[in-house]
Symmetry: C2
């Protein structure tokens, strides 16, 4: 990649102030044959190995989950993006996202899979030295060893850096002796390798250690009883002067919190992928049930109330998916760029993901809340059967609920979204002030109501999105000015801003996706996708207006308030469209195809 | 009650076209000492008998639930509103609502209690002849016999009248022989008395029968496995030429559907009461947890993100509650009025409830969705512990979800809300056309922007609510005109209208409640309630605007559309208020009192 190209590449968070061309994003309609084959392998694996066993998995039948992991390993599903030198396939990030998405429909199995391949493997892959990687990665890649990740403690959840676990060097200098209690550890019941975070002596920051299950002083509590993902092993892990050879310190002393954060960045976008996979499956089940179940003499899929739900489920899922793969591609390109600029592969990958940490947090929130919407309406479509443990919605509903809690709660991710954005602006990495001032200037000038001459298929939506950006910049700019250092304490304002950013990013991703799709296949082949885009952006405008209004009303007064509210109205104005008809069109195709088909 | 008073009494559905005076509603701040003592009995009963046993109850420990029912019976809790002649306390409807509310915090026990005292007892109480009442009611009132209600079948849920169960007279004319399969029958596992709905021969409509568990030909399936309310017995009940003495036909042949519907009317408002009771308990738990749990060096209740949630939980709950007791009082007054006009007590009670069936459906939807909001944020506030079966939110979250499904799904109740309203208008019972035309006229005249001189504490909110009514009338009137007989098929429009009606009714109830409260205790003692009112109505305006806009855009075009949208904007305009500060005030008091306190 040439220097000029790398300068032009979009940076994380820059979506707020820069326009993206549809050609520059990746859309899921572009998967190549090899990727589709891998996806099919995943789907077949679930159909054959996981779906028939969901109840046995949820009962945590002895040995079943590790056995499924072995089988997934035998198919290569645990090592898609592991470098070939460690026995993996060395595929790109998007392909690993696709695998995560497809397996995301596998309920508890999906959680075990994600934890193993993500937080269970990546700390060592990205931060291990050669010896550590050679020792652990091939076995994690094959599934012979299973991985877990021990960060959370009873008193340290969202505030992960505050954990009490402590390590000290043994008298002979050969071991770290680790004492502490870790909680909510996924895969703990069968994991062979634990990446454990703890402070050494009185360090300010965490360090990370690679701990094997047989190291002296490690013990497991019994399984936690949970609302859902009951098949996923979750335990407390106790360390009592646990003997960790010094060579098992991961990366440098006190580098643990950074590792934890960076691994979570990947985890967040991956979680987005998994929830989209789950959503698609739930939608398909809901469509099938609605087509089969008859009341008042016809299938309930004939009723507008049901069609509305099916359409909304598809709209939210398609929108999330658009953002996820756009960001995945961005990460991949950033990785390539960093590699081209001379960074080694591992560092380049980490920096690529970190670059788009804002987008990852956005996606985590949007996709997990979309899935919760999808399962909730799934239950409702099933009626009484939605409440039955014999039908699939009960499990889907319970399993889904974890996604807004782990990998950083959605509150934490919302706040991070805004926080990271502002920090980048402060550091001069993102020029928000310039554009924000420009918008502020626009507020006092006479608005340009001249309709553009160009009446292209996406003219209007592009204008809306440009306006959404102005809305966010206006509110964020004013909030920063008004509240200054207080802003961190004004969490409600952070939440409103996050909601605005999320709707902006997802709207834009969706618009660009549909634009690219129309470019590829023509307008006729994307009629419903155009409807999805229109309805989503119409609703997004309302959400942005509401959040913006609450924010403005919380910190502005008098004339300034009036002016900003007027600006907000202008920036969130959309033409009236028949959303009801659009949703019917979207649902009609789902019902006809009897499955999620977008 | 004098003739003039009875003429002036408000009718069901009339809230849309008539103003109510704050003095004319009942508010929960008016419970008298006796009622508060009864409430305390309920609270103590739960604390001593139910809460310590929640897990055992959910495991359906043999005999436990019927035993708890017996204990509740011994305290008189099963017979609060049963006439004294049948061994009850003969208390008024509101008091029975209060008991339902308080016991609503009892998870599965609440469901067993509600089913027994509601659908299990009331069909006989309201429709039984003297002999039937004398035989069954005293034992149902004491709890010696437990009741269940068999309407739903595998193929007949929402469409309850379509069931296949059939009864025919035996050759000797002494028995009805009933054959069929009933599904999802609450309390079936231990019920002694089943009210069963089935058609006789080829009747068009259902009849109802009182069936004792020992009647030959009745059998039970095993317990259903459910998402939640696991302690509530739910079974299929099979009837195989089940021998029912002819004297156990309830009411008249083919009167069953009417019985079912009328009993559901009561069930809906009672469900509202129960969900409010559950909400308050969950909010208290969430507050306590937020006050105890520390992250980043302080209790999480100090964080704006958490305070926002606590405030919203309280706002929705207080709003639901306002509507519930307003409607309960209305029902009670209607009952008295009917009695005064010469109807016998039973008929008067039924007609009183039926009169406010629209309000009951509204309440069912609003209160069940409020509880789902409350438990969802409850889980979120608990973070990882929200997902643990050891903490209370998991159960609350799963148990809550049934409420949007039974007693008529929320979709069915939304449609009924609009449907009943329009039917009453057609029958001339409600003059909607006049007011709707007046609003339509207003659309083409110059709006009166003159601010009123009177700047009372509620002037603004009263104006908003008057405008909300105009918004509903405008959209409903146009929808009826445009879509005519098609309207039933345009379910989306029915749903939008229902959402508008719900927000209107609840907003008005809340405003009237706070007004009456201020009248009773002064403004200073109701500061937070005033904030609750302002935030709720502010949000309601947004919701009404959104639903109205989607409705209008679905059926109107051109100038007409433009005019209606302008009208809608005018009718849903509210002054900007600092909702963030208001929510903080509301939360501050909750946090300080460490419990739900409104
Ligand atoms: C099933 C399951 C599996 C898990 N797997 C793992 C695993 O494998 N490894 C691991 O290390 N951890 C794991 N976790 C832990 C998970 O990451 C934490 O539960 C999560 O980070 C939240 O922490 P917490 O539970 O302590 O909640 P808390 O941090 O106590 O949060 C409680 C509430 O307070 C809010 N809150 C907290 N701080 C703030 C603030 N500053 N401002 C505003 N609001 C705030 C939160 O958003 C939440 O709403 C798992 C958890 C579960 C339930
Ligand atoms: C735990 C539990 C306890 C219960 N207890 C009892 C009991 O004690 N006695 C009893 O008789 N019944 C009981 N029920 C049954 C309950 O009342 C029904 O489940 C409910 O009425 C819904 O019917 P259904 O399950 O057949 O759903 P369906 O009617 O099949 O509905 C499926 C979906 O279609 C929608 N739908 C249906 N018709 C239409 C339409 N015309 N237009 C638009 N949408 C439509 C529904 O809203 C729902 O979203 C219980 C159910 C449960 C789960």
């Amino acid at each position: 990649m040439s220097e000029t190209e790398s300068i032009k590449a979009i940076k994380g968070g820059e979506f707020l102030i820069r326009e993206t061309q549809a050609d520059n994003i990746f859309i899921p309609e572009e998967w190549n044959e090899e990727q589709l084959m891998i996806a099919e392998t995943c789907t077949n694996f679930l159909a054959q190995n996981v779906v028939p066993n969901l109840s046995r998995i949820d009962e945590q039948e002895e040995g079943l989950m590790p056995h499924l992991m072995d089988e997934a390993g035998a198919l290569g599903l645990l090592s898609i993006s592991i470098p070939e030198q460690y026995g993996g396939f060395g595929k790109d990030f998007k392909t690993s996202m696709l695998v995560t998405e497809k397996l995301g429909a596998g309920n508890s199995f999906s959680v075990a899979f994600s934890a193993h391949t993500g937080i269970g493997t990546l700390p060592i892959l990205y931060y291990g030295n050669d010896a550590q990687k050679e020792k652990y990665i091939p076995k994690l890649a094959s599934g012979e060893w299973k991985g877990a990740y021990c960060l959370t403690e009873p008193g340290a959840g969202s505030d992960a850096n505050s954990g009490k676990a402590r390590a000290k060097l043994s008298a002979d200098g050969k071991y770290y002796l680790l004492t502490g209690q870790k909680m909510w550890i996924t895969n703990a019941g069968f994991a062979d390798i634990f990446t454990v975070f703890a402070k050494i002596d009185d360090d300010e920051n965490l360090s990370a250690f690679i701990v094997e299950k047989d190291f002296e002083g490690l013990s497991l509590n019994t399984e936690e009883h949970k609302m859902g993902i009951k098949g996923s092993s979750t335990r407390q892990v106790f360390f009592n002067d646990c003997k960790i050879p010094v060579e098992n310190l991961l990366s440098e002393r006190q580098n643990g919190f950074k590792i934890a954060v960076n691994i979570l960045n990947i985890g967040r976008i991956k979680l987005g992928g998994a929830t989209v996979g789950a959503s698609k499956e739930v939608i398909t089940q809901a469509i099938r049930y609605a087509n089969e179940r008859e009341q008042f003499g016809r299938p309930i899929s004939k009723y507008g109330a049901i069609r509305y739900k099916l359409a909304q489920q598809a709209i939210r899922t398609y929108a999330s998916e658009s953002a996820i793969y756009r960001a995945s591609q961005n990460m991949e390109e950033a990785m390539e760029m960093y590699m081209a600029s001379g960074l080694d592969e591992t560092k380049a990958k980490l920096k690529g993901v970190e670059q788009f940490a804002i987008e990852a947090a956005i996606i985590k929130v949007h996709a997990s809340e979309s899935l919760d919407y999808v399962v909730d309406e799934g239950v409702q479509i099933y009626g009484g059967m939605g409440y039955s443990a014999e039908a699939p919605m009960d499990r889907a509903y319970r399993d889904s609920r974890i996604n807004r809690i782990f990998e950083g709660t959605n509150e934490i991710n919302r706040m991070l979204t805004v926080d990271m954005m502002l920090k980048r602006a402060l550091k001069g990495e993102l020029d928000l002030m310039g554009p924000a001032q420009k918008v502020a200037g626009e507020l006092v000038s006479i608005p340009d109501f001249g309709g553009s001459e160009d009446e292209g298929l996406f003219t209007q939506e592009k204008k809306y999105i440009a306006n959404f950006k102005k809305a966010v910049l206006m509110v964020a700019g004013a909030a920063v000015q008004k509240l200054m250092t207080q802003l961190g304490k004004e969490q409600e304002v952070l939440m409103y801003l996050a909601d605005m950013l999320i709707e902006l990013y997802v709207s834009e991703s969706l618009q660009l996706r549909v634009e690219k799709l129309v470019g590829m296949k023509g307008e006729g082949a994307a009629k419903e996708q155009l409807d999805i885009m229109r309805v989503y952006i119409n609703d997004a405008a309302g959400n942005i207006a509401k959040a913006g209004r609450e924010a403005i009303n919380s910190f502005a007064d008098g004339d300034e308030r009036r002016m900003m509210l007027m600006g907000l109205k202008r920036f969130t104005k959309t033409e009236d469209i028949n959303t009801t008809q659009a949703r019917r069109n979207i649902a009609a195709k789902l019902i006809e195809e009897n499955r999620y088909c977008y």
